[in-house]
């Protein structure tokens, strides 16, 4: 650059206001952070292999633990049942009475309601 141009260049320029930076850069849009799959530090195959290995270890540990447990004796108790017999029914033709032994079995139809409830 010639002397004259250098001399021109040395002149002090008017500076923009300090607020200009804020005015300009505040307009910069906030973009959502994109997670680049290509830029992963842990490759997919390694992550998948680790997941499979961990699942295998978990399954084996669970199996070993179950084998160490004593086998509990299971008894299946029959469900208690309540049989309710209607005797001395006011209804005609149902005069059967269980409260007394009887050889007499009246003719007719015996109506009985059976209420069954399972025990806990």
């Amino acid at each position: 650059m010639e002397d004259f141009e250098s001399k021109l260049k040395r002149l002090r320029l008017r500076a923009p206001s300090p607020e200009l930076d804020e005015r300009v850069l505040a307009q910069k849009p906030q973009r959502p952070v994109r997670i680049s799959l290509a830029g992963r530090r842990v490759p997919f195959w390694l992550a998948a292999a680790a997941a499979v290995a961990m699942a295998g270890v978990g399954f084996a540990t669970g199996l070993a633990w179950r084998r160490q447990q004593p086998i509990a004796a299971e008894r299946r108790l029959p469900s208690p049942a309540t049989i309710q017999v209607i005797y001395n029914s006011p209804a005609e033709g149902n005069p059967f009475d269980f409260t007394r032994a009887s050889h007499f079995f009246p003719a007719g139809r015996l109506e009985a309601t059976i209420q069954t409830s399972k025990g806990a």
Partner: protein, 160 residues
């Protein structure tokens, strides 16, 4: 794909002063020059273009915004007597330099718009002639001619 915001911010931070000076040379008003820069970067941050010569593209957008500012507000703003130069030189500034600055300002106003803007862009905007040609959408030879002619006139006026 959006313009690279990081690259734009970098260009802004690196050429902040030059962008302002070039915009000021068009608007002749500091407030309008800053408005033009803000408007230009609003457009740039949202543009989809990926210019190969990003710096020239940014300067061109700022220049267009400065011209738009003038078109939108045709009423002449208070014209700066100091043009693009510092209005309040520091106390260490020699009187001779202050006088030179005043003479340069006066001489610049006598040049054509093209000559004056080319000198500002090249000397104070740190732009190459090729970049100026791209910004102004003019042939390289024309830009060089504007500059040479302008500098010659400037020198002659200052020697008078």
């Amino acid at each position: 794909m959006q313009a690279d915001d990081g690259a734009l911010e970098q260009i802004y931070r690196r050429h902040r002063q030059q962008l302002f000076t070039c915009a000021l040379a068009v608007t002749r008003c500091p407030d309008r020059a800053e408005d033009a820069i803000q408007e230009a970067f609003y457009r740039l941050f949202r543009s989809n273009s990926r210019a190969r010569q990003m710096k020239a593209y940014v300067f061109r957008t700022v220049r267009n915004a400065a011209i738009d500012q003038l078109r939108r507000n045709p009423a002449p703003a208070e014209e700066l007597s100091e043009f693009i130069f510092d209005p309040g030189p520091g106390p260490d500034h020699a009187a001779a330099e202050n006088e030179f600055q005043r003479q340069v300002t006066a001489a610049l106003t006598t040049l054509s718009e093209d000559e004056r803007e080319t000198i500002v862009q090249h000397i104070y905007g740190d732009l190459t002639f090729r970049e100026i040609a791209k910004i102004r959408d003019a042939p390289l030879g024309t830009v060089t001619a504007w500059y040479q002619r302008g500098i010659k006139k400037l020198r002659e006026r200052l020697e008078e």
